[in-house]
């Protein structure tokens, strides 16, 4: 997994609440057996005027001029500013893969759906939470200022604006540690393989019908 330490990037404001995973990546693309290649179809239904299917050359489709992702000033953005309950709906990790494949490294929102939130950490994408008033302010600044960038410092747990204002965010120690070091969860868990075996042996005694 890619490490996340400090990231400075162009901000793209997506001013909608309850953005669901069907909107982030529509189902027809879930037929893929790969983890990559989802970037061109991120927000597919909103992003293009004609319907999309897997296997198409998406660069030949007509971009929806009204969708924020297609505005030239937001090209190359890597920090997504979003509204509450971002990522609700299905468990599809393809939603996170689409965001990272597009180049998003951090999402900033007032709240997230649980499964999306969890999936993000497994892929080096930092979903951080700031209070709604701060988010409102960041939306205003990002929309008003061309080239608006934010710096996300994970070690310091801070988001810093171009004017130097800093906002603290909280994060679980374990998740922070994994992200900072780019650690694979499975390897870490297998360090406790003996504990798992002990538990399993005990459970086999108390609930043999489960085995």
């Amino acid at each position: 997994m890619e490490k996340f330490t400090v990231h400075t990037g162009l901000v793209i404001p997506l001013d909608r609440s309850n953005v669901d995973t069907d909107a982030i990546i529509p189902k027809q693309y879930l037929k893929s057996i790969q983890r990559t290649g989802f970037g061109p179809t991120l927000f597919d239904d909103w992003r293009y005027l004609e319907p999309g299917e897997p296997g198409m050359d998406h660069s030949k489709r007509t971009p929806n001029p009204d969708f924020v992702l297609n505005a030239p000033r937001f090209a190359g953005a890597s920090v997504l500013l979003a509204r509450e309950n971002f990522g609700c709906g299905s468990s599809r990790e393809h939603a996170v893969w689409a965001l990272t494949d597009y180049g998003i490294r951090a999402v900033i929102a007032p709240s997230y759906a649980d499964i999306f939130f969890n999936n993000s950490f497994k892929n080096g994408l930092l979903p951080l939470t700031l209070p709604a008033e701060v988010i409102d302010q960041l939306f205003v600044e990002a929309q008003a200022t061309e080239g608006y960038q934010l710096t996300v410092n994970l070690a310091e747990q801070q988001v810093v604006t171009p004017s130097g204002a800093a906002f603290a965010f909280s994060i679980d120690d374990f998740r922070k540690y994994c992200l900072l070091n780019g650690l694979d969860d499975i390897g870490l868990t297998l360090q406790h393989a003996d504990d798992i075996r002990v538990y399993e042996a005990k459970r086999q005694q108390t609930a043999p019908w489960l085995f």
Binding site: S17, N18, D20, D22, A23, P26, K27, Q28, L30, K31, S32, I33, Q34, R35, D45, P51, P54, G55, E84, N85, C88, G89, S90, S91, R92, E93, H94, V96, S111, A113, D114, I115, N118, N119, K122, N123, D172, D173, F174, D185, I186, T189, L190, H192, A193, D195, I196, Y199, E200, R203, T206, A207, P208, W209, L210, F211
Partner: protein, 489 residues
């Protein structure tokens, strides 16, 4: 409707332990959680042991690939049961899957199951069906288990007093490799549906009414226990419908206490415990309910008698109305963010404000999905369809049973004939038009009465308009051509 809330101010009937500590009782969630903690870190992050891992074709290929790349083996193969469902065609199965991309995904699941020795109910096997239908049907979901699947509607299995939730593909790989999930404990919420529901009001109406009240993020961070007389009165099919949609209220897990209804359902199924194991299991399951002095972080009470048949009008499951209701008017909403949400949803749905929902005509009807495709659902729809005809303006009304065994049972009761005579299509099992990964889908602008669980934009096909209802209400829409109160049909 009559709702009473209380946040964290539940009366505490604490018992004094011998050490002099005051300890409250445990919730059902606390009990199942505690029984599965392998180890816990100082920050509360725990390794939770997983008893059952259900696998389907869409969210597993990248996980198997990850195992191979790291040269890892599954920790406990017999904890896994696999089934293709999302991509399976519901018609013309004899030709196989014609979409090459979908076929590759299903074949990849077959190959992975073969290579790793995982039990799979393949296409053509009578046991094949939607993963959340076949798990319980096979007895692979048992009370007190931890159950995971790379699918958010895994909450369904909580109907058995199991702790069941959806996980992403990285977690699928993690569970395969370690039999554990890294988890932090959620908070406890109790939703108690008190009293009895009226005639014609089903489990689907109960859960839609709940989501209408708590909102799609109301359960975020919680495990929800559903309780109260109206929940206890439900069959296992109805309880599964309720827990299935816990995720639509934002909760990864929904749970219901174990009682005789649960135990009678589980008994004698292929994976259920046998002989003396059965006796021991039933004895252990007696404890799978919240203690009387358990403390919930949030409690919500709902008066069952006030619930009417429900119909969603918008693009989120919380945008729901009783059948005698009207679409909302954004002009009457004081919160500008909410007003613009209502406006956007009305526009997408092609509806005007203040429209009685029974005035809205439908183009298609879908009866199926992991929410409502079990035998009781099919029976409820058939009871309405019997002796009636699908209305002329309805282009397609389809019934998709949840599994081969549900289909077989329905056919043995002659329900397929009732549907076909009424003008419905009777299909083979799968997810079908719930998410339209196969050929069953809505065309842009088409409106559907659907028994599924999500009415997001484009869910059933790009530009498609979904209204969530119960099976009886879907059948009522099919035969009248518009939403109609099934109680007065």
């Amino acid at each position: 409707m009559n709702f009473i809330y209380s946040y964290g101010n539940v009366i505490l009937c604490a018992s004094i332990m011998s050490e002099g500590l005051v300890v409250a009782g445990k919730t059902l969630y606390d009990k199942v959680w505690d029984a599965h903690v392998v180890r816990q870190e100082a920050d509360g992050t725990a390794l939770l042991y997983i008893d059952r891992h259900l696998v389907h074709e869409v969210t597993s290929p990248q996980a198997f690939e990850g195992l191979r790349l790291a040269q890892r083996q599954p920790w406990r193969v017999n904890s896994m049961v696999a089934v293709p469902d999302h991509n399976v065609p519901t018609i013309g199965l004899e030709h196989g899957i014609t979409d090459p991309v979908a076929r590759l995904q299903v074949e990849t699941l077959d190959a992975n199951c073969r290579d790793f020795g995982i039990t799979e109910f393949n296409i053509g096997d009578i046991r094949q069906g939607i993963v959340h239908v076949i798990g319980p049907e096979q007895g692979a979901t048992l009370p007190g288990m931890t159950v995971v699947c790379g699918d958010s509607h895994t909450s369904t299995h909580g109907a058995f007093g199991a702790l069941a939730h959806g996980i992403g593909t990285s977690e699928v790989e993690h569970v395969m490799a370690t039999q554990c999930l890294i988890q932090k404990k959620m908070k406890n919420m109790l939703i108690s549906v008190d009293g009895k529901v009226g005639a014609g009001v089903t489990a689907k109406d109960i859960v839609l009414a709940i989501i209408g009240e708590i909102g799609t993020a109301g359960g975020t961070g919680y495990a929800i226990e559903f309780g109260g007389e109206a929940i206890r009165d439900l069959s296992m099919e109805g309880r599964m419908t309720v827990c299935n949609m816990a995720i639509e209220g934002g909760a990864r897990a929904g749970m219901i206490a174990v009682d005789d209804t649960t135990i009678n359902y589980v008994k004698g199924r292929p994976y259920s415990p046998k002989a003396e194991d059965w006796e021991a299991a039933v004895a252990a399951w007696q404890d799978l309910h919240s203690d009387v002095d358990a403390v919930f972080d949030r409690v919500m009470r709902l008066d069952a008698a006030s619930i009417q048949p429900q119909v969603t009008w918008g693009t989120s499951p919380e945008m729901v109305l009783p059948v005698d209701g009207k679409t909302p008017d954004p002009a009457k909403e004081s919160d500008p963010v909410k007003a613009s949400g209502i406006r956007a949803a009305l526009k997408y749905m092609g509806l005007e404000a203040n429209t009685p929902i029974t005035d809205v005509q439908v183009d298609k009807v879908f009866i199926g999905s992991c929410t409502n495709s079990r035998i009781e659902d099919i029976r409820a729809a058939a009871a309405v369809a019997k002796g009636r005809k699908v209305a002329a303006n309805v282009k397609l009304a389809m019934v998709v049973p949840g599994s081969g065994l549900v289909k077989q049972q329905a056919e043995s009761e002659g329900l397929d004939k009732i549907f076909i005579e009424a003008g419905f299509e009777w299909r083979a099992p799968g997810c079908s038009m719930c998410l339209a990964m196969n050929a069953d889908r809505l065309e842009p602008g088409e409106r559907c009465a659907s028994t599924s669980n999500r009415n997001f934009e484009g869910r059933q096909g790009q530009g498609g308009r979904t209204h969530l209802v119960s099976p009886a209400m879907a059948a009522a829409a099919a035969v009248t051509g518009h939403f109609a109160d099934v109680r007065t049909l």
